[in-house]
Symmetry: C2
Subunit: 223 residues, 2 copies
DNA sequence: CAGTGGTCTAGACCACGCA
DNA sequence: GCGTGGTCTAGACCACTGG
């Protein structure tokens, strides 16, 4: 056990047990230096890690305090669909249903490529996808057919990302969507909208519509 | 600009621009020490931060490498509903519809308290909640009526957490749920299932059912 | 075995912000 | 002003691991 981990663990235990409640001031760095008989750099690294993880807040001159839990946050995994299906032991298949250049797509005011298709798992369709790819940022996409590989899979391996925003909603499938997914009209679907940026420029925008009865998202707590 | 931030920024830029692709070995610590004219501790802190954020992987003897992007992950905010509604400028209200002890609830094989109610925003119901609270972990809950405050809000301020798992699905409301939420039967809803642990023990389990047309979740990219 | 990252030390100076 | 955290230095020893 390293000294840093020891300090962190002791403080985490006191916070999690409720002994130190939100707002409680934890010992000053120099006090911890004395208590653990280590250097200030070690204490600083331990407290810095706790602050980065949101367990404590640090204020100059005032000290370090147990953070007030504001919002519940969790890490949502948005994996490559092919991997998810494969992990379940089912066959995965992608079917391209449309591909065309869009001079100026609504969501992107840029020359873009529009790709539409269907994701299958275990022989059954489970998600519809409609994607726009900005050709200014990813000109190589124009050479791709996207017949054998879903654009998300391809992009994951070809374009580094810097930011993205996801929006998750429950919606009712319209007639065409329901037919494509094998649902009754107005069947419940999970809609995932994702916009991805790279250095401030939109790279891609995707809307995925999942059958509500065949897909869910799991998010683990952080920290 | 600190030296640490400078080093981080330079490396991040090279990764994001695609100049250094996944698997590329980045300079050794001692090389960066020379290049930036700083101490090894500073370089170490910069690289350690990048590793913690998943941008690079570090291996002894081998060096540090640009990480292979695995899965897309994002930070999902699961806020206190009262705060969300208030932030929109609408009135928030909680209505308790049921409260009873459950000797051994299905989800928890423990003595628990069952709380049911409805969240209102702008005078309209928008979410149903059914919650189990483990009385072994949170005995104080038995003294709470939960008439004036939703149990989630109360718990957030009374119990420190250590882990949680969320499951998000699209479901169709049954007749009773639809009526309570003011939806037509089978209307699309977002279902959020959350189990919260503290030191390995389940603290609470909640199922929230949101009107699909009035609620969505937003997740921001990480890192 | 040799070189890397992991961890630590005992100092130092600085900027911020409360008194 | 003065004490806090923020940052940095110039060393050091160690554990792991790849060749």
């Amino acid at each position: 056990m390293t000294v840093e981990a020891l300090i962190r663990g002791d403080i985490e235990a006191r916070i999690h047990s409720g002994e130190w409640k939100p707002g409680h001031r934890i010992p000053f760095e120099h006090e911890l230096v004395t208590a653990y008989g280590c250097s200030r750099a070690t204490v600083s690294k331990a407290l810095g890690g706790l602050a980065k993880d949101g367990l404590i807040e640090r204020r100059r001159k005032a000290g370090s305090f147990v953070a007030h839990p504001q919002v519940h946050s969790a890490v949502l995994e948005v994996p490559d669909l092919a991997q998810v299906i494969a992990a379940r032991g089912e066959d995965y298949r992608w079917q391209l249903t449309g591909r065309r250049g869009a001079e100026s797509a609504g969501e992107l005011a840029l020359p873009a490529l529009l790709v539409e298709g269907l994701h299958y798992g275990g022989g059954e369709p489970f998600a519809l996808e409609r994607r726009l790819i900005a050709l200014t940022e990813v000109p190589e996409a124009e050479q791709e057919s996207f017949v054998d590989q879903a654009p998300g899979t391809w992009l994951l391996h070809h374009v580094p990302w810097t930011a993205a925003r996801h929006r998750i909603r429950a919606v009712e499938a319209n007639v065409g969507e329901a037919k494509a997914l094998g649902l009754r009209p107005r069947g419940a679907c999970l809609e995932l909208d994702r916009t991805t940026w790279r250095a401030g420029q939109i790279v891609t925008h995707v809307r995925q519509l999942f059958r509500g009865d065949r897909y869910d998202l799991v998010a683990e707590f952080k920290p």
